[in-house]
Amino acid sequence: MAAQMQAGGAVSFAAPSRSSQAVRLIERPIVLRLLSIALFAAIWQIAGLIPVSFAFPTFSDTMIAFVTMMADGSLPTAYVSTLQPLILGVILSTFVGVGIGTLCGLWRPGEWLLIPVFIVLQAAPVAAFIPLVTFIYGIGMTAKTLAVIILALPVIVLNTYKAVRNVNESLLVMSRSFMGTRWQEVIKIVLPDASPVIFAGLRLGVAAGFVGVVLAELLITPTGIGDLITFARSRADYAGMYATIASVIALSTVTLVALQWIEVRVFRPEKRGD
């Protein structure tokens, strides 16, 4: 009798808990993200089937082209050539950009000397300078790296500068009251306090770096990913072209997510949600 009651009770409890589990699963960000990707893929597939344009492949054709290009080695080879200047350019832009930005934020003469240059650079259609780079540095690795830096550096410098200028004054006074040195102020207060805005700049800078390297490959040095896109288009291999473009977008997204992860892990642990 008692056992029956218990069993009955268990059943009546199990039902709502299972549905609430399902609700919780839906609310998990990872599930939502996968859903959004699936939705995107579905719309792409439908648009490709209609088709929107003869040059617009379906999602499935693009994926097949991607696997094929990975298997025959054309995509990996292209990435080896593209990633070298990209990584080099992004790393240089990060360190030089954060360095210059911090200096300008802390030191007035630096601000007056350098910030106007970067404001102009950011306002100018910098992509138009890329062909000029060819005249000076040819079509090699240097030219590509420079293209990345030209696009990535200004936004990193300007964001860092802005963040450092707007550092929380009361934390600096606190540091001084406990006899912190100027150097400790910069390392322990200015940079962590500025890090969210600096990282916002880094994310924009890295995205711009991807633009820079692909532009350079499309415009000046037919190598790597840019060359692969041009080549696929010239053969009317639209699935291959889209597969290449999509892979660049995916890689860029993964890089930005990784940057966010570093920011939260290393600099702003209090922003780590559960």
């Binding site: 934390l171 006074v173 001084r176 009251s177 406990f178 912190g180 702003r268 642990p269 209090e270």
Partner: protein, 267 residues
């Protein structure tokens, strides 16, 4: 029968018993605003002295000059007999806006003063844990400031100041951003801490009740320019039940007396 021993300026020149902080002829002008004029003050060792006065009379300015965070236009500040013009290890500041590092845990925030001095991590965290317990925050070591209430944040600020083992604690309206209930609790804790810690407190407030409730000595400042108008020593027995103090006749009389003195500045 007077509620408090009241002294006026002329008596001030006579040297106080064992002053740990001596302020002599301090003046400060911001542009056209004369914030302080010729302030002479002694802060007795081991006592809690409040700086009380209406808004804008220069309380924060005076406290920050003592802390070495603002430079005075004239005059000197001496701590333990030595002239000072910059922050030093014998003074620690508690900030009105807490000034906690949002990205650091309670433990790191409390240990931050020691971190800046280069104390080894293990040692400074042991010290910090002790003071975290003293201010009633045990169990919150790994929380971040945004997870704490205003009252708890200021306890972190107080623990950080206690941690560096300074002789003089400078507190600038530490409870102004704390709600009334927490404020009462915090005032009681401060009275308790003061008896245990054997430190000198210099406390800025604009609350008459608060000043009378916690202080051994109250310095009344008059505004524009900021000058010492009176010094009052409330003789209140704080050993008993804290709620009793609020009903104590000496307490109430002193509050009333200060209010009568300050009324002229409030218009």
């Amino acid at each position: 029968m007077r509620a408090a021993v009241v002294r006026n300026e002329t008596v001030m020149t006579e040297p106080a018993v064992d002053a740990i902080v001596e302020v002599r002829g301090i003046s400060k002008t911001y542009g056209s605003v004369e914030a302080l004029r010729e302030i002479d003050l002694d802060f007795p060792r081991g006592k809690l002295t409040s700086l009380l006065g209406p808004s804008g009379c220069g309380k924060t300015t005076l406290l920050k000059i003592i802390a070495g965070l603002i430079e005075a236009d004239g005059g000197t500040v001496a701590v333990n007999g030595k002239k000072v013009s910059a922050p030093g290890p014998e003074r620690a500041f508690v900030f009105q806006d807490f000034a906690l590092l949002p990205w650091a845990t309670v433990l790191r925030n409390v240990a931050f003063g020691l971190e800046l001095r280069g104390t080894a991590k293990e040692e400074r965290e042991t010290t910090a844990r002790r003071y975290i317990k003293d201010v009633g925050l045990a169990g919150f070591e790994d929380k971040y400031p945004h997870e704490l209430s205003g009252g708890m944040r200021q306890r972190v600020g107080l623990a950080r100041a206690l941690c560096v083992d300074a002789d003089v604690l400078l507190l600038d309206e530490p409870f102004s951003a704390v709600d009334e209930q927490n404020r009462r609790k915090f005032q009681e804790d401060l009275i308790r801490l003061r008896t245990n810690q054997n430190k000198t407190f210099i406390f800025v407030t604009h609350s008459i009740e608060e000043a009378v409730y916690i202080s051994d000595r109250i310095v009344l400042l008059s505004p524009r320019p900021g000058r010492v108008s009176r010094i009052i020593e409330p003789q209140i027995d704080r050993s008993g039940d804290p709620d009793r103090i609020h009903r104590d006749r000496h307490y109430l009389d002193t509050v009333e007396e200060i209010w009568q003195g300050l009324k002229q500045y409030v218009e």
